[in-house]
């Protein structure tokens, strides 16, 4: 079928859809990591002494640690002295209206299809857009501030709400948690800060678009979300990245704290540049995301759609401390070409009657490797706790790999842990059936894959789900012959 070959050839050689470069002037500091560099970062950001202290201590811990080797990943050695640890758009200012914003930046947003105007009008989403390391634009903050909701860049929060930041920073992910967490704690650039006061339900979805935009700059986001008693928030994080020839390190930390009766829904669509067909130039994504269900009946729910990055190392987790607290993890991870992903979740049951759910859908194509790694631990005091895990793998072609590593530790006899796993393929019969109805290969794969991932996509807010569906199809273009 020569026609099919043509399509295949075309889509597999086509450039990364969001691979463009924008020309905003960037202020950078010299390459490399040292105490000196950390002091410069802290000084540039005008940080208080305690935060510099936090950074320096984290740096010391990092120096004593080693890159984790346990993941099912082939991680090239990273030269940490060849990375720039701070970059900020030069023309930084807080704008009142879009007219004042650098037209280059607006253009970038337009290419991404996330123009702020459109976002404002259509989706009612407040956007805190992080380009490189400094927040450029926050919208809807007026509406939010009337409710007492704090939503701003991390750096801003350090100055405006130092008590909150000081209280919660590192409380869920301690600096020494792991190698990349220590690195982030030492050099984190910027990120988002969000606080929902007692009894307040955020009327809008809070959304942040992250983007790596300066050549050769490591990106170290730091996000802190706190939902006070009875509060509710749905938080969206999405990213796309420009095409790049050198590998870029991305090591973010997200910490969530949910107090009594609070609920936080955190949704991610991750689409960092995955590298070319040989895997060259993609983003390395080492993320530590963890939520603390601090209070009774609190709930934290992670939903992620992972399509990008050359390497993904990411385990959004929940510590279920409060009694009757609930943790959820819904994930779709797609790997194509030479991509590698080792992702999953940890559910640590500490409180009584705690409940967790893990739904993981891996999709592997090309020569990629996709691993699920999950830990469910029921501690001795976590009476009557239960977990349900469902880990499915879908293989496209026969050169890719899917692996499942479930770890289960039940230390209380009343605990119930259920684990189900399946592996399947898109069958020739399914493709033939679709094509016989006039649907071409690409669209058929899109349909089937989206059907497979439906349970997870259904967890996403509407407008995000549509974007995610498109992404799934784009990521798998040309993956079945």
């Amino acid at each position: 079928m020569s026609n099919q070959q043509d399509i295949l050839g075309e889509v597999t050689t086509s450039d990364y859809k969001y691979g463009f470069y924008s020309d905003i002037e960037t202020e950078v500091i010299p390459k490399g990591l040292s105490e000196e560099v950390i002091r410069i970062i802290s000084a540039k950001k005008n940080e208080p002494e305690w935060l510099l202290d936090f950074r320096l201590k984290s740096y010391q811990k990092w120096l004593s640690m080693e890159t984790p080797r346990w993941a099912h990943l082939n991680i090239p050695s990273i030269d940490f002295q060849n990375i720039i640890y701070f970059a900020a758009p030069k023309k930084k200012a807080q704008y009142e209206s879009l007219d004042e914003v650098d037209p280059e930046l607006i253009d970038t947003f337009n290419k991404l299809g996330i123009s702020l105007e459109e976002q404002k009008v259509l989706s009612g989403v407040a956007v805190d857009a992080v380009i490189d390391s400094v927040s450029v634009k926050t919208t809807f903050s007026d509406t939010l501030s009337k409710l007492g909701i704090l939503f701003m860049s991390f750096s801003e929060a350090v100055h405006k709400h130092p008590d909150l930041v000081k209280k919660y920073l590192g409380s869920v992910v301690p600096a020494a948690d792991n190698y990349f967490a220590a690195l982030n704690s030492a050099v984190f650039s910027d990120g988002s800060f969000c606080y929902i006061p007692k009894g307040v339900r955020s009327p809008v979805e809070l959304s942040t678009y992250f983007r790596i935009n300066a050549a050769n700059t490591g990106q170290f986001e730091r996000t802190l979300i706190i939902a006070d008693e009875g509060a509710y928030v749905s938080y969206l994080e999405g990213c796309t990245a420009p095409q790049r020839d050198e590998n870029q390190l991305h090591a973010a930390i997200v910490e969530i704290i949910a107090h009594t009766d609070a609920e936080v829904k955190y949704s991610t669509v991750q689409n960092w540049y995955p590298g070319d067909k040989e895997g060259k130039g993609g983003i390395y994504n080492f993320v530590t995301k963890r939520g603390m269900c601090q209070g009774d009946r609190s709930k934290i729910s992670w939903t992620q759609v992972e399509t990008g990055s050359a390497i993904t190392w990411k385990y959004p987790s929940c510590i279920l401390k409060g009694d009757y607290s609930v943790g959820e993890f819904y994930s779709v991870a797609v790997t194509n070409n030479m991509q590698q992903a080792d992702t999953g979740s940890k559910m640590i049951h500490l409180g009584k009657h705690t409940k967790s759910t893990i739904i993981s859908k891996g999709i592997s194509a090309g020569k990629s490797h996709n691993s699920y790694r999950g830990l469910v631990r029921i501690n001795p005091k976590a009476e009557h706790s239960r977990n349900f895990s469902q880990c499915d793998s879908l293989l496209l072609g026969d050169k890719c790999g899917a692996h499942t590593f479930p770890y289960i530790e039940t230390n209380n006899p009343t605990g119930i842990v259920e684990h189900e796993a399946t592996t399947s393929k898109i069958s020739d019969e399914q493709l033939f059936y679709c094509k016989q109805r006039g649907i071409d290969t690409e669209k058929a794969i899109g349909l089937i894959v989206n059907g497979y991932a439906k349970e997870v996509l259904n967890q996403l807010p509407m407008e995000f789900a549509v974007e995610a569906q498109k992404l799934l199809s784009i990521s798998l273009e040309g993956s079945v012959g």
């Binding site: 026609n3 033939f432 059936y433 094509k435 649907i439 669209k443 349909l447």
Partner: protein
Amino acid sequence: MLEIKNLYVSVQGKQIINGLNLKVNAGEVHAIMGPNGTGKSTLASVIAGNTAYEVTEGEIIYNGKNLMELSIEDRAREGVFLGFQYPVEIPGVSMTNFMRTALDEIRQYRGQEPLSAGAFLKYMNQKKELVELHDKLNNRSVNQGFSGGEKKKNEIFQMAMLEPQLAILDETDSGLDIDALRIVASGVNKLKTKENATVVITHYQRLLDYIVPDFVHVMYEGKIVKTGDKNLALELEEKGYDWIKKELMA
């Protein structure tokens, strides 16, 4: 409309179709009968373009076009429809979404605008009525958990939606209860026009009481060995295939 000349087909080195000839004109209904394993489904698959089968000789002309040069999806868009003997399940994909995608693709190929969501739903409801599909099958995933009969009914529903010019129905009658058989057959009859043609593959004369064929073909060992009118089906029902085999030997 369809002309198959001297067709030879093999799969994994095994010869299945051996010099088959068949001509179908617009407005006609053809029935193909024959013992198990003689290649009826293979023939249907080859017309639809299934690449698992290798056409080693012969040609298939459809509306003056060499069908072999068209991809599976383009054949479908040109109006070839296959009602599957064993419809596959596609988990998580709703029938509505599936049909919407298919119809959009076909309309686009024909240079037509896609239907709006409202117009599509209206159209779908009309077609559901035609095949008396009153339940919520279209909200469920494609064929998933459908009973044998529901799957077959669903094939006819899709045929109604896509309005093919050439419909090949591979044992769409098997597994249907008496009422469903009548509904399916009347659906097929309602969809019949002067411009389209239907080929039904069946083992049972019963279906042909409802869908009256212009021609009945007997397929045996990869070839059409006998052609007659609807009375041939009655004869087969009564006598089986042995007498044909004997005729062939003689």
